[in-house]
């Protein structure tokens, strides 16, 4: 039985608390009276995930028939799936997607279905390389489908293969992958790492176009998503739900969603998942050996070590059938793992940012992604109200080097150097610069033919933090490269003590402090 998450009140006897710090760690002594939110321990995984998948496909929820009765010879079947942005870190083989799709294809084979295509639902993310696809789907699927062109990666700029399904009453264009929309059955396979993922958002981001995405990926939408980790209170989800319902009226969709536990790090990093006072001699030795050796290796090497980590996360639930009924169950299962009750907001929110976010698998967590991870994802890991009060301070710990992956994030470089040099106001950025980046032929070329994120993706990173930027009074980055931190309009500090002193200028003396001990991931239920 796993222990639930809880809030620790720091006193003089509390040991230093672990902060992730990019490709490294810091142990920080928090002032007495601070609170630390600890995630729940990993819940027990499914004993027989393959059996559970079969059961879910044969016993769908909502208004849906069992999968075998939806499959017949001569039909056109499309299976779309989440891309490698989830889970984080990439999970040890076999990935949930491989398990699910193999069983789905087994049923399709039994029904005599020949016309099958698999689509990786990238949205505006970069294409995946062959090894990345093999890791996600397994060699069996890759070898059977990729050589015949039956495993494709969604291209949001291939206008010949996009089709406008219609417009919602609010005027939102629903433009999606033609193959998916013109199929007799569209199966979407999802890995729900956090509550933001899944439901209608899967198709509406994964296999749609920029014209469609801009209706919900915008500053106003993000500022009215409180938070985007809580779908009922998220404008991002309201919009995708409206659009998704329109699609569901046009295409038969069979949604399969899986959830994972938070067994995030392999045994050599098990100390990252334990509460500090429970570290054994082995954990302490591992921590010292790891952190000391990482201090002496170049960031490039440290990065490659960390990106080699494959998480031992395991499936905790699988549900299939009609999109909304499936997603309601998924959220229940996610909350079983993630929810931690927290009372009241703090003046200062501290967080240690790890090496990895959804957009830098096998890549660099550049300063824009640091902002997105801290102010976008970590800040929004709440339900109810934010962990920090309006006008409070967020302190993040990360090296924040002025460093970008030139192949994966080309438009980020220009965004950082040109756009942020002029303004950091999301509304002004959106109005003045978005269109030119989104339609830039060079970025489009790199997105379609290289391994680059779409030109507009850098903007979305900034918008993801728009709610936090509107809410907090100051953002401080501990240990960050000063010029990169200042470029984003934040303040650099060399130690946590300095950062807390700086925060006092904004929130007054003796502020209340909450630290989120994340990852592993949790969702604060703030009352």
């Amino acid at each position: 039985m796993s222990r639930p998450g809880f809030v620790l009140e720091v006193d003089r006897s509390t040991p230093p608390i672990l902060f992730h710090h990019g490709e490294g760690f810091r142990l920080e002594k928090l002032p007495p009276g601070s609170r630390v939110v600890y995630p729940a321990e990993p819940v027990a995984p499914l004993k027989d995930p393959d059996g559970a998948i079969r059961h879910a496909l044969l016993n769908p929820v909502g208004d849906s028939q069992p999968l075998p009765s939806l499959l017949h010879a001569g039909m056109k079947l499309t299976i779309a799936m989440d891309n490698q942005a989830v889970p984080l870190p990439p999970m040890q083989k076999p990935d949930n997607r491989q398990r699910v799709i193999e069983i789905v294809l087994d049923m399709a084979a039994a029904a005599g279905v020949d016309d099958v295509e698999l689509i990786v639902a990238h949205g505006l993310h970069r294409r995946q390389t062959e090894p990345e696809l093999r890791h996600m789907l397994g060699d069996r699927i890759y070898d059977a489908f990729a050589p015949h062109g039956m495993l494709t990666q969604h291209d949001a700029e291939d206008h010949d293969n996009l089709v406008l399904v219609g417009r919602t009453e609010q005027g939102e264009h629903v433009e999606l992958n033609k193959r998916a929309v013109t199929s007799d059955l569209l199966i979407y396979v999802n890995v729900n790492l956090v509550a933001m993922d899944g439901g209608h958002k899967s198709t509406m981001t994964g296999i749609s176009s920029y014209r469609s995405l801009k209706h919900h990926h915008n500053v106003t939408g993000m500022q009215h998503s409180r938070s985007f980790m809580d779908p009922p209170n998220s404008e991002l989800h309201n919009s995708t739900w409206r659009m998704g319902r329109l699609l569901a009226g046009a295409v038969k969709i069979f949604q399969i969603e899986t959830t994972l536990n938070t067994d995030t790090f392999p045994s050599q990093f098990s100390f990252l998942q334990k509460r500090e006072w429970e570290w054994s001699a082995r954990d302490r030795a591992s921590f010292l050996a790891t952190s000391k050796s990482l201090e002496h290796v170049p960031p490039r090497i440290a990065r490659s070590i960390f990106h080699g980590i494959k998480s031992p996360q395991r499936m905790t639930s699988v549900q299939a059938g009609e999109v909304e009924a499936v997603h309601a169950l998924t959220l229940q299962n996610l909350h079983r793992q993630h929810l931690v009750p927290v009372e009241g907001q703090a003046d200062v929110l501290t967080m240690g940012l790890p090496y990895l976010g959804p957009y830098n698998v096998n890549s660099i967590l550049n300063p824009l992604l640091v902002m997105c991870l801290g102010l976008g994802y970590f800040f929004n890991l709440y339900r109810g109200k934010p962990l920090v009060r309006k006008g409070g301070v967020v302190i993040m710990s990360h090296p924040t080097r002025w460093e970008f992956h030139p192949v994966h994030h080309p438009s980020y470089i220009d965004f950082f150097e040109q756009v942020l040099a002029e303004t950091t106001d999301p509304i002004e950025i959106e109005k003045k610069f978005e269109e030119s980046f989104a339609t830039d032929p060079w970025y489009i070329h790199l997105y379609r033919n290289s391994y680059a994120y779409h030109g507009v993706h850098a903007f979305y990173m900034w918008y993801w933090g728009a709610h936090a930027l509107q809410h907090v009074g100051q953002v401080i980055i501990v240990g960050g490269e000063p010029r990169a931190v200042r470029r984003m309009g934040f303040k650099p500090a060399s130690t946590l003590r300095d950062a807390l002193e700086m925060a006092e200028d904004v929130v007054g003396r003796n502020p209340s402090i909450t630290h989120i001990h994340n990852p592993p991931i949790f969702l604060a239920d703030v009352t």
Binding site: A109, R140, A144
Partner: protein, 298 residues
């Protein structure tokens, strides 16, 4: 009186001819006692032999590549590993390719009439690969009891249900031993397909040859199979045989094609086409030559 031989009571007494002699206790064949080979000292020695001698040697000789090991994720030991059988290399390739949690507590059902014909040969087999003697013509009580007892003690069992190496490159019908043990002990059968060992060391050759470029051995793990409700050993054995044939098809084509053919019941049989010997050899050759870089049997 013979000189030089001590007499009773110093020497052995004569056996009275009127008293029937008890049957001589055989200590070879199926009666060879392999218990010593499962003591901690012998297991340690075997672990060293398997990991530090056999694995590197096989890497040079056969360059084995493992496919589908992910199908074993979450499978708890013990299990019964069942494969097609073309060569003496099969056992070593399979044993060294098993995930560690299975490999170091594994026994191999070896033909009692081949590997245990002498005590030295039996000792070598028991020590190096953890062989236990198994009658290949029937499920003998002694060998079946021993295998069941060891499965019950948590030992993984490797079996080749064809009952011997292929004489001509095609497989033979699976016998029911593995299925019987699976039903009796309630443990899963893991089907495997081994490809290419026959090219390197076929039946009748004294020594293996070293794999050239593109001639390496491939081993495909299948998903564990549990006995179904009301299934008997014969039906389970037939299902296992089909699963191995589907793995062979998966290797020869691709996973999706193999699944489609398995669903349609058109998976090519391991046993090859019926007909004269030359036609079987011909078909084997045609099958092999269609695959780039893979040479025909032998």
């Amino acid at each position: 009186m013979r000189i030089g031989v001590a007499r009773f009571p110093l020497g052995k007494p004569n056996w009275p001819s009127s008293v029937p002699r008890p049957p001589v206790k055989r200590r070879t064949g199926v009666d060879y006692d392999t218990e010593w080979a499962r003591t901690p000292a012998a297991r340690l020695a075997r672990a060293v032999i398997v990991d530090d001698v056999l694995r590197p040697a096989l890497h040079v000789i056969a360059s084995p590549t493992v496919h589908g090991a992910d199908r074993l994720v979450g499978l708890e030991a013990p299990a019964i590993f069942v494969a097609n059988h073309h060569s003496h290399l099969d056992t070593s390739v399979l044993l060294t390719s098993l995930p560690e949690r299975f490999r170091h507590k594994a026994i191999v059902a070896a033909a009692a009439d081949y590997f245990f014909t002498s005590r030295t040969k039996g000792a070598m087999s028991a020590l190096t690969i953890g062989a236990i003697p198994m009658e290949r013509t029937k499920v003998g009580r002694r060998s079946a009891d021993l295998a069941a007892e060891l499965l019950g003690d948590g030992w993984n069992l490797i079996m080749f249900p064809e009952g011997g190496r292929s004489p001509d490159g095609w497989g033979r019908a699976f016998r029911g031993g593995a299925a019987y043990l699976s039903l009796r002990c309630g443990r899963p059968v893991v089907p495997l397909y081994i490809e290419g060992t026959g090219r390197l060391w076929r039946r009748g050759k004294s020594w293996p040859k070293i794999a050239g470029k593109g001639e390496g051995v491939h081993l495909v793990f299948g998903a564990p199979m549990w006995p179904e409700e009301g299934e008997d050993a014969r039906r389970l054995a037939a299902r296992v045989e089909k699963a191995v044939a589907a793995l062979a098809d998966e290797w020869a084509t691709d996973w999706w094609t193999a699944r489609q053919r398995a669903a349609a019941g058109t998976t090519p049989a391991l046993t090859g086409p019926s007909g004269g010997a030359w036609r079987r050899a011909w078909a084997l050759d045609a099958d092999a030559s269609s695959r780039t870089g893979r040479r025909s049997w032998p």
